[in-house]
Amino acid sequence: MVDLATPVTSGGADTGDWQPVARSRAGRSRAARTANRLRLVAGLATLVLLTVGAVLLPWLGGLDERLVDYGAVLRPPSPTHLFGTDEAGRDLLSRTFAGLRVSLLVAALCAVVSTALGALVGTVSGALGGWTDRLVMRCVDAVNAVPHLLLGIVIVALYRGGLLAVVASIALTHWTTVARIVRAEVLSLRQRPFIDAAISGGASRWRVVRRHLLPAIVPQAAISAVLLLPHAVWHETALSFLGLGLPPHMASIGNILGDGRGSVLAGAWWTVVLPSVLLVAATLAVSGIASTWRDRLVPRRRSELSL
């Protein structure tokens, strides 16, 4: 008989961290594996389609997204303007794809900068250990305690300067996740025999970091960078939507949606539908690809980067 009153392990059972490890996504059953593959294919297909659209549209007779035409203000979708026009008569189809290009480029820049920053801080913190480590981790806690969008808004507000301010505001708020992951990786690498071998071979601390630790954290850092992409898109869009992000003449998705906000109230629903759909499709595609990739490489690290 099952003894229902068996005492559970008392103390130390940190239920907060307890999660079933590889139950759903990591592809245990065949159905799950198929779903996983489907997600990857769908994500890649979406991304390719969007990129092709963004790159080829100007050549395929797309209209100039900056062309203002006050004779055709807020036109609903028609053969000339497949997705209608905005409040300045600009073609929304070309403008949205141009916006997607801007948003993705800015997001990629932000992801690279914040991953580099996070990898640097994480490596230094993990490799030096001791007081430096403790201090750095307290700083990471402090940054994480401020809602990221709010800290981003503070930075953008105080350094109003267009692109650079936006990149700084996103990079300075998003490096903490990468720093944590990289630090954990460095700490576990430090226990490995090849590091001991290098040290007993007379390698200096700097050499160990440069030759042995940094190359080993590259895969983790790369996944983090890709996983940061949707966050960065999200942040840039939110900032631009609030009127705090990219300058209004740059057609980013956030700017288009911010402009469209007034037009929606006037009944022009098409000003926000297409930009929203493309934004969501791009975000979901990138995060789908990135999380499938991560599940394959490191099945345990599932929940560390969630939006």
Binding site: A5, V8, T9, D14, R23, A157, R160, F241, G243, R261
Partner: protein, 352 residues
């Protein structure tokens, strides 16, 4: 032995400690939880100091000149002596550390400075707007938690069924939809097309803030905030209920022939909900972020839309105060969640 014959169905083994937790033990437990809360509060102080120092440093290093903002276009016609007097009054030429000391001293005595964009003291702005923000955030969180409990439970009840598949798919899709897109969509559908609910604001134009007015205007922003926060919670409840349904004590409850709703709601759900409490506490930052966007779209007169206004007009005193307030909310959220988990689950160590 017939398991169903027991005098009372024994409680889920993992949810309560075996044996009665008698008076002395309970008191000791309460003291330990109080000590945990105290330690966490003490830990919050350095974080707050660090955050305020960082925000102040950002402000001090900014190329933005408050004196020029004070004057606006009149800086070109103002006499140098007047400009110097204002410089001295605003104290912008003092060393940064002295300024930081003044500011921190002001924070501790409750003097948060003067908001330039609202033309009133920062404390007044916060006092006027905090209740509306709390109302919106609490109702949004309530919507999200309710959705999570109902949909998560229903989805986990029949894993792989149509409801489960719909909930999971919609949840994953919603994770990628920003709150302001959701808000614009909700306005377009429910306010403009169906005309069920008002578009924005706290009341109709010129109306006093009566209960019915505010409730009617609250429905849309609170639902949007709740729905935008719900996918993580729904998927989490589903996942953790699925794993707790596979545990021994649930199999035991089934074996004793208990009704299905009793097994799910009384035996599986309680163990599944402990991590959920922690998750809800940890999602305060996202709740604040969502509130900023939702309040802005719906012109809700709360603190989060004041963030946007103060940022657009570079109103540093208000912006800094609101950042600190949000940080405090985040720290309080995780503290409350930890205390709740420690009180609910005697297995959780309180000395960590």
């Amino acid at each position: 032995m017939n398991l169903a014959d027991g005098p009372t169905p024994s409680p889920p083994a993992t949810a309560r400690q075996p044996g009665p937790l008698a008076g002395a033990g309970r008191r000791r437990r309460a003291r330990a939880v109080a000590a945990l809360a105290g330690r966490r509060l003490a830990f919050a102080v350095p974080v707050l100091v660090l955050v305020s120092a960082a925000v102040f440093a950002l402000g001090a290093a900014s190329p933005f000149d408050p004196v020029k903002q004070y004057y606006g276009n009149q800086i070109f016609t103002a006499s140098q002596s007047d400009v110097d007097r204002v410089r001295a009054e605003l104290g912008v030429d003092e060393p940064a550390l002295v300024q930081f000391g003044h500011w921190l001293g002001g924070l501790l005595t409750g003097d948060l400075g003067h908001s330039r964009s609202f033309r009133q003291p920062v404390t007044d702005v916060i006092g006027e707007r905090l209740p509306w923000t709390l109302l919106l955030m609490c109702s949004g969180l309530a919507v999200a938690v309710l959705l999570a409990l109902v949909l998560g439970t229903l989805a986990a009840r029949r894993q792989g069924g149509w409801l489960d598949r719909v909930v999971t798919a919609v949840g994953h899709a919603l994770e990628g939809i920003p709150p302001f897109v959701l808000a614009l969509g909700a306005i377009a559908v429910f306010a403009l097309t169906l005309r069920w609910l008002p578009v924005a604001g706290l009341t109709d134009a010129g109306q006093p803030a009566t209960f019915s007015q505010v409730t009617r205007h609250l429905v849309l922003p609170a639902s949007v905030l709740g729905v935008s926060q719900s996918p993580w919670l729904v998927l989490h409840v589903r996942q953790s209920l699925l794993s707790s349904l596979a545990e021994d004590h649930v199999a035991g409850a089934r074996a004793r022939g208990l009704a299905e709703w009793m097994v799910v709601l009384r035996h599986a759900l309680p163990t599944a909900l402990l991590p959920f409490v922690t998750l809800v506490g940890a999602r305060v930052p996202e709740l604040v972020t969502g509130a900023v966007l939702v309040e802005e779209v719906f012109s809700w007169p709360g603190l989060a839309s004041a963030v946007v206004k103060s940022a657009l007009s570079v109103d540093f005193p208000l912006l800094a105060a609101l950042t600190l307030l949000a940080t405090l909310a985040v720290l309080l959220g995780s503290l409350l969640a930890d205390v709740a988990v420690a009180l609910l689950d005697p297995r959780v160590a309180t000395d960590g």
